[in-house]
């Protein structure tokens, strides 16, 4: 200790070599300890990565029909026609036999699955024109990794393209509700008094209407024949309209409590201008909590979209979303004998679970009380 003050013996920390961690690094370190949260995070990164690369990953166009109706998943073999082991997967043709009402492998059609094959042209991310696909079988062999639906469309391809809609709807809707909720809730919490009362009563009115009923009513107002892209947009707007009130309430509570924190009081006592207090102290403080609330509410939007599309009020066929794909699996016969039609349900389940794990982990990691 070289720079000891003469007047007071300071209580220095011993390990002054330890590198300083920013609060974000600290939160990240806390998050990494939480295995469920990390699993959720990795799952989400994979899901969104797949959604972005959906066109590349899918072997067929999502609306391409074939006469292979309700074909079960194509078999994958790791041996060639001679029976020898092969690292390259092989597949065979499946043919419907009306006599026993089932699909059977056609003998002698064992063909290799090729990777990075040229196929249908598409635009990656809507910009980059490409023809290359991750995998594909020879044209005369229908290769459906997750089977086909009632119109003979490839479920795997539709699942991927559908994920673009189902996954992005949650993110875009939360961005909109987040900005509305943060502004409205922030105003209510910061100003308080009558402004607060009026805003909160409006929120309560919106929240007191049963959410799903409101969604259905609003979606029912949409004209039947409009551009599917417009439908997508309208659904997001409807979801945001129903969802902002809840988030505004959360943000109001947060900003009410952050406003009274001692470091905000201290800034006020120091003569820091009001705008700077809001910008530097209140918003960052509220933002971390609000972002946890946002993460935890994304699954709600994904479920709501699925629900609407399931009822036929959301994304319309031929455009796929997990919800409208699932509506094909409504009757008992499909559920019992065509299990692959339930894949969208599995995807929804995994996504919702991943968001919840991540949200819980974030809440713990960002809680300053756990840091002491």
């Amino acid at each position: 200790m070289t720079t000891t003050s003469a007047t007071t013996p300071p209580d220095y920390i011993e390990d002054d070599q330890a590198p300083s961690e920013t609060p974000w690094q600290l939160a990240w370190r806390q998050l990494r300890k939480n295995k469920a949260a990390i699993a959720g995070l990795i799952t989400l990164i994979c899901l969104y990565g797949c959604a972005i690369l959906a066109n590349f990953l899918s072997p067929y166009r999502m609306e391409l029909r074939s006469d292979q109706v309700f074909q079960p998943p194509s078999p994958i073999r790791f041996h060639n026609a001679d029976g020898g082991f092969s690292l390259r997967p092989y597949t065979t043709q499946l043919k419907f036999n009306p006599s026993d009402n089932a699909f059977h492998e056609v003998a002698g059609t064992l063909e290799p699955v090729h990777f990075l094959v040229t196929g249908e042209p598409y635009r990656l991310l809507g910009i980059l024109p490409l023809r290359i696909h991750l995998f594909g079988a020879p044209d005369h062999i229908p290769f459906h990794l997750l089977g086909t639906d009632s119109d003979g469309r490839d479920v795997f391809s539709r699942l991927l393209i559908g994920s673009q809609i189902s996954l992005s709807i949650g993110i875009i809707a939360i961005c909109i509700t987040f900005s509305i909720g943060l502004t409205v809730g922030g105003i209510a919490g910061y100003w308080g008094g009558r402004v607060d009362s009026v805003i909160m009563r409006i929120c309560e009115v919106i929240m007191s209407v049963p959410q799903f009923y409101l969604l259905i009513a609003l979606a029912g107002l949409l004209p039947a024949k409009i551009d599917p892209r417009l439908t997508f947009l309208m659904i997001i707007i409807i979801l945001s309209f129903v969802g902002w009130a809840g988030l505004a309430r959360v943000v109001r509570g947060i900003s009410l409590s952050v406003r009274e924190l001692e470091y905000v009081q201290a800034a006020r006592a120091l003569g820091v201008p009001e705008g700077r207090i809001i910008r530097r102290h209140i918003l960052p403080g509220a933002f971390t909590y609000a972002s946890v609330a946002a993460t935890l509410s994304i699954p709600g939007y994904i479920l709501a979209e699925s629900g609407l599309s399931f009822l036929g009020l959301g994304i319309k066929i031929p455009f796929p979303s997990w919800g409208n794909m699932l509506s094909a699996a409504q009757d008992l016969d499909v559920i019992q004998t065509k299990v692959w039609m339930l894949c969208p349900a599995a995807m929804i389940f995994i996504t919702v679970l991943a968001f919840n794990f991540l949200g819980d982990g974030l809440r713990d990691a960002l809680d300053p009380k756990l840091r002491r």
Partner: protein, 337 residues
């Protein structure tokens, strides 16, 4: 510690007159709605001269912290005057009030809550300087280092975050921030109550050193009488929102004139176990500030209470040497112990 120079004619740095803070409470019992007033601060007069440390003591809930915050207008006072250098803080609005806050500052009790966990130490301690345009952004690292050295912390700590420090260190950071703009007066709101005993003396020494070098005045809010005796030139004792006794520390501690002060002093445990003090502990609880007793606010717990106490509210009467007490028997009971 310098001897108070409360010489006649000297202008006080801070003069508080009739400070009141009332909170409205709405109570519903069935269909009846009652509006009541919590008189948290009920007419406080306080004077602080330049270079002086004035203690404000009392039990928790007596309104001492509320009074401190009301002086800063962190809590808007209901009525009263707060003259800082002759300017009434209550008359200031917006920008003028913000400017006035250069001269008066506060150190909070909880050093964990008082620092923004998302800001680096150098940004925390220089925030008031930037807010008042006293330095430019480029001067931040240099000035932060100087401030940290002033409060006995290593300048290298400037690039760290609050969570890396102990309570004592954080309190030093809070003090560095409070002295940054070179204020005249700092309100110390129980600055050492949350700290370990071993750290307390260090912080008190730091405060005394800073007072000497910067010519600061302190309003030291505390419930710990022994600390107040050590650091304060004058003491004001608060009970239920009002000051009941006030005077030079030595006089108040050696010959208290208000029965409440006497009870507080008797409650201090003696350091020597052989000395068995004859203790007269107070009976009953502090009455609710919703329902302050008529006449003398202390009468329901007072051993000296008489008929006059119920009908007449005692004024703060001067005894000797600026020693005043709000008790009808202040003068005759002074030496009756």
């Amino acid at each position: 510690m310098s001897i108070p120079t409360a010489a006649a004619g000297a202008t006080p740095l801070l003069q508080v007159r009739g400070l009141k803070k009332q909170f409205k409470v709405t109570r519903r019992s069935g269909m009846k709605v009652r509006h009541e007033l919590v008189k948290a601060v009920d007419g406080v007069d306080l004077t602080i001269y330049s270079g002086e440390t004035v203690g404000l003591v009392g039990e928790s809930g007596c309104g001492k912290s509320t009074a401190g915050r009301a002086i800063l207008r962190l809590i808007e006072p209901t009525s009263g005057e707060i003259l800082l250098n002759g300017v009434d803080l209550r008359s200031l609005r917006g920008e003028a009030l913000r400017q006035a806050r250069k001269d008066i500052n506060i150190v909070f009790q909880d050093p964990f809550a008082a620092l923004d966990p998302r800001m680096m130490i150098r940004d925390i301690v220089t925030e008031p300087l930037l807010a008042h345009g006293m330095i430019s952004r480029n001067d931040v690292p240099e000035r932060a280092k100087k401030l940290l050295e002033t409060v006995g912390l290593r300048p290298e700590f400037a690039a760290r975050y609050p969570h890396e420090f102990s309570g004592g260190q954080r309190q030093r950071i809070g003090i560095a921030r409070a002295i940054a703009t070179n204020p005249r007066l700092i309100i110390l709101d129980e600055p050492i109550s949350a700290l370990d005993i071993s750290i307390r003396a260090q912080i008190l020494n730091l405060l005394e050193d800073l007072q000497e070098t910067n010519g600061l005045s302190y309003l030291f809010i505390a419930h710990d009488l022994s600390v107040v005796r050590h650091i304060c030139d004058r003491v004001a004792v608060m009970y239920l929102g009002a000051i009941v006794e006030e005077g030079p520390s030595d006089l108040v501690f050696t010959s208290p004139r208000h029965p409440y002060t006497r009870a507080l002093l008797e409650a201090i445990p003696a350091a020597d176990p052989d000395i068995r003090k004859e203790r007269k502990l107070l009976e009953g609880d502090v009455p609710s500030p919703l329902d302050i007793p008529s006449g003398c606010r202390f009468r329901k717990r007072c051993p000296l209470a008489a008929a006059i106490c119920e009908s007449e509210s005692p004024a703060l009467l001067a005894a000797v040497d600026g020693h005043r007490a709000a008790c009808h028997f202040a003068l005759d009971s002074a030496n009756s112990r």
